[in-house]
Amino acid sequence: MIHVQYFARYRETLGIGGEQLAWQAGLANLDSLREHLLARGGVWAVLAEQNLMCARNQELCGLDTELADGDEVAFFPTVTGG
């Protein structure tokens, strides 16, 4: 399983804070997971934003980061704390 989380504007646009996805061999990295989600169409297009940020197992990473079964992944807009 892959536990995917969405935050802030993405959570609102998508209407969910997170979901469990069945692990599949095609999910090589975060970008392939994003492509998989984009294929749902409609509101999911928000994940195509250029300034999208992502994290694997609660650590910032690039979309080329490899995925493994059991990972926690998060997609979110540019952070704005401070």
């Binding site: 650590e59 807009p77 540019t78 952070v79 704390g81 401070g82």
Partner: protein
Amino acid sequence: MSIRIQVEAFDAGAELNALHAANLGIGAVVSFVGYVRDFNDGQAVAGMLLEHYPGMTEKALAKIEVEARERWPLLTVEIIHRVGVLEPGEPIVFVGTSSAHRQAAFDACAFIMDYLKTRAPFWKKERTPEGERWVEGRCSDQQAAQRWDKF
């Protein structure tokens, strides 16, 4: 190491004194306090909601502190960030650094804030007369963080 994510307000003066009391080798304390403004991007702001990513937030801030300590000879570091509903005038964030001499404390405090703004998973949603809006990331924040890449 002290990192706190909290809903409650904090007393910046008390935090500042605590930073210094911890160690008599401290010759310099520098702090930054960020506040909620009542105006942003051409609109009045009545308040804001701060969202974060529980679990990752603490790790991201701890990592920033470790990096600051690798770069400068710091004695104490304190990072406090609030979440939840905040009103204009309320403090959002406190960063305090101390060292034997001032330059390390000054630079580390600026570094921690620049990295916090671009790497810690917090998001602001403002309440304005025209409704709520998510604050967008600023290029100037990215540039401020990038200046530390040269080291």
